[in-house]
Symmetry: C2
Subunit: 360 residues, 2 copies
């Protein structure tokens, strides 16, 4: 089999050009006499790789100079604890928006450390909408406001940036980072697991405003303190060096594609093609309100769930794989991150039309 | 330049056969249509990779069935906090042996959580010896006894397994795991960062006796609880999938070499050649007492430190790289983990003799 169109929600497809370059550099990086995996993280070759990756990410996202960029381990699940540990500053509470499975997990973890004020909750409607700004029950004394701009499982994405006034805004951007331009200065903390739009699993990017660093209580594990990592340029201990390198290749690739404006244009078009087909059909359905639909994760169901198996095997025959929906939602889910070529979406749309004609 | 003999202390050299196989499988693993990096960790292809890696590690180390093997993130530095968090069980204190820089770091982190009884301390002698069993000031009520069997920076390795009675023995084996056979049943917890003898940085192996799991207090971050990961077979959240795969290739390679008995034989011989040269010379010196010398990390100094630069550049010309010693020790350090071929050590010994003849 050749390389497929892989609609996995994460770990997810990477650009073929990036994989090809990693393959070519695997036995020996440039003239270093070794693989990137074998380099000391303190050596000048690896330092140049790490610094270039950060510089490229700063350029691509236009990250202001008063923000630190940290290359960490542990995934968003570790950030669920690190955010309250570092940001509470003795305050008793924080605001959270509950818009899906990942918000719920962040809230559950935060409750170990503080009073959580759920400022909006769309669970009653099955997480099929984004709450309106006017409906948010925000607390002006909250240590921060946490939300999940894109819910990977529900396929729900905010079409606006919540206004939190002086309260730092914290965002789990695991499944939307780098998919479109963003005003970083509006955020206190942005974090993202790498395995969707950044690179291989095992790397977590944290972008944190400098004034929010240095306030973790004494009993915080050193590895869970933003200050530890900020002071050491993410090299307090050995970082996930190879994943950091791969992320750097992805950042270079994004620059070559024209940056985030270009990514956004393609991403909007890719998602639009899928939603258009779904909305024009009685055979396929997506439950999310139109203004809250994700560009990155498109869940959909077939009119008859008994056809799910035939859909998946038919798709696989055409090289369209990992389309099965999350067990909590059922049906299908097409995750169409930056690395999914538009031809992959076109091929999926074509297959969906043909499948409907045959079975609808 | 071709591939070098890389004496880095970590991230370190990997077997060339392993890198070559990873390169070959990079664009597409078997007939999966994608790279291992792009696979969902819940899919059957990746599950087969993960399960085989664990099975091979269990076989190679003869891990008893009442031990869980966890594939985590965060390095030994995270274990420095996780060990007390999970093992204290309300007890006020734990015993630690202080035999080098890594012991010191483990002790500093543990002090956030409990009273640390330093049961042995070789710092006064510059960390150049292992403390004798009879000299250990152990506390029968300690929650556990923590030690570092091999100190990567000082090049000091225990030549015996400390006897702790009913108190669980906890070992940071980052730089000695898989270098020789081991009786796992004598330990409560064994942990190791991957980047020396296991695989790429970003993976941490924790081998933990089942009765020690499930006792972390409520305010422990979910990601810092052994129970979280044990219950989920290390897939509570997305694991570092590619590093786990690479570790699996290394475990296979160890089996092909004849397992840990064969590794030990070669490792002892490699280290022996270096120490023999150093001891037979007035030009080179190693400060560690003979019974405490590491098989994995061989620090040495030149009689005249002004020659260090010429030594390093002469070595590099022969493809012998990353020999500069740790800044806290100075001089040189040859880290000779499993993946360093015996020819690499032979070439180094030959160069050292020639350099001494010319400059001694």
């Amino acid at each position: 089999m050749a390389r497929t169109y892989n609609f996995s929600a994460g770990p997810a497809m990477l650009p073929s050009a990036v994989i090809a370059r990693a393959q070519q550099e695997m036995m020996e990086w440039h003239s270093a006499g070794m693989s990137v995996m074998e380099m000391s993280h303190r050596g000048k070759d690896y330092m140049s790789i790490a610094e270039k990756a950060e510089a490229d990410l700063r350029e691509v996202m236009a990250i202001p100079s008063n923000y630190k960029v940290l290359f960490l381990q542990g995934g968003a699940s570790s950030q669920f604890a690190m955010v309250p540990m570092n940001l509470l500053r003795g305050s008793g509470g924080a605001d959270y928006l509950n818009t899906g499975m990942w918000s719920k997990k962040a809230i559950a973890e935060a409750r170990r450390y503080c009073e959580v004020n759920v400022a909006a909750d769309t669970s009653a409607g099955g997480f099929c909408a984004v709450p309106e700004q006017d409906s948010l029950q925000l607390n002006a004394d909250a240590a921060y406001l946490h939300y999940t701009p894109n819910e990977t499982i529900g396929g729900v994405e905010f079409d606006y940036l919540p206004e939190s006034g002086e309260v730092p805004l914290v965002a789990d951007m695991s499944s939307t980072i780098l998919s479109r331009p963003l005003d970083v200065s509006r955020y206190g903390v942005i974090y993202a697991g790498a395995q969707k739009n950044i690179g291989p699993a095992g790397l977590t990017i944290v972008i944190v405003r400098e004034d929010l660093i240095g306030h973790a209580p004494e009993q915080t594990p050193a590895m869970f303190s933003y200050e530890t990592h900020a002071k050491a340029d993410s090299m307090y201990n050995t970082p996930p060096t190879y994943s950091w390198y791969m992320a750097g290749l992805v950042f270079e690739w994004i620059k070559e594609q024209g940056g985030l404006a270009a990514m956004a244009e393609v991403n909007q078009r890719k998602a639009g093609k899928l939603y258009e087909l779904i909305d024009s059909s009685d055979f396929y359905a997506n439950p999310v309100e139109k203004n809250g639909r994700s560009w990155m994760n498109v869940p959909f169901t077939l009119a008859d769930a008994a056809l799910d198996g035939a859909f998946l095997s038919g798709a696989a025959e055409r090289g369209l794989v990992t389309l099965k929906g999350h067990r909590s939602v059922g049906g299908m889910r097409a995750s169409i991150y930056n690395a999914m070529p538009e031809e992959g979406v076109d091929t999926l749309v074509e297959f969906m039309r043909a499948f409907e004609q045959k079975n609808g």
